[in-house]
Subunit: 141 residues, 2 copies
């Protein structure tokens, strides 16, 4: 479970460092993503944040997601689905992705995965992550 307060605190710091403004839109979008483990897409974030901030635009959500990603506070879940899914949990974990309904489940691990040695042959490694694709119980039966 993510500590929302410390997440907002991190946003405050990162914004200051990057000369970016701490706007209510950024706070709400980050809050929303950090308070769920469903790895929502942009549209879902939009619908959810609209409940507390009715005039937010979808464009702002997309821009904010990109900003938060640039600041290293959230990241996109690698998938081959049409919509991007977002995650605010930076602890070591990977994802089970249902290829049928698109559900994304966390699989927590003791430590981050080491990249295969050969990786460094191709450039600077930023991140290594594991994807487990399958069919979730709900879709199965």
């Amino acid at each position: 479970m993510i500590n929302i307060e410390s997440k907002i605190e991190a946003l405050k710091q990162k914004c200051a460092e990057a000369n970016m403004r701490l706007t209510p839109q950024r706070i709400e979008v980050l809050k929303m993503i950090a308070s769920t483990d469903t790895h929502p897409d942009a549209e879902t974030v939009y619908e959810s944040v609209k409940e507390v901030m009715p005039f937010i635009s979808l464009d702002t959500v997309y821009r904010t997601l990109a900003s938060l990603e640039d600041l290293g506070l959230i990241f996109k879940v690698d998938n081959e689905l049409p919509k991007s899914r977002y995650d605010a949990d930076l602890s070591p974990h990977c994802h089970f992705i249902c290829v049928k309904c698109g559900a994304v489940y966390d699989i927590f691990m003791d430590s981050h995965i080491e990249p295969p040695k050969e990786s460094f042959k191709y450039g600077e490694v930023l991140q290594t992550n594991l994807q487990v694709k399958g069919i979730c119980h709900k879709c199965k039966g």
Copy 2:
């Protein structure tokens, strides 16, 4: 390096099994993907196949890619880039993906990756794959 002949042979068999027709479009699209290690996107496949088959349509390429994927002859490379990338190499390997230019490099491994035990909690596991994201030498400078 993929053996194109055996790949086409597999297509022939799979098509027969699935009651699908062995069309020149399917052969050419599969040939194209199997003969490169660049993991092309649909547009690139289209441009390339057009050279030998000038009247093929982009729609056919998309449909064919989906069919070949259904037959288990190719698969999409998981990424968070706007375009889907395709791979015909089914041997154990993962990918280095440059987050800047989108280049995809193969990292070959001795065996397929075992899914974490927790994976099975969420459903039936179909595939496990590792992604290494970074910045390739070319983009680095």
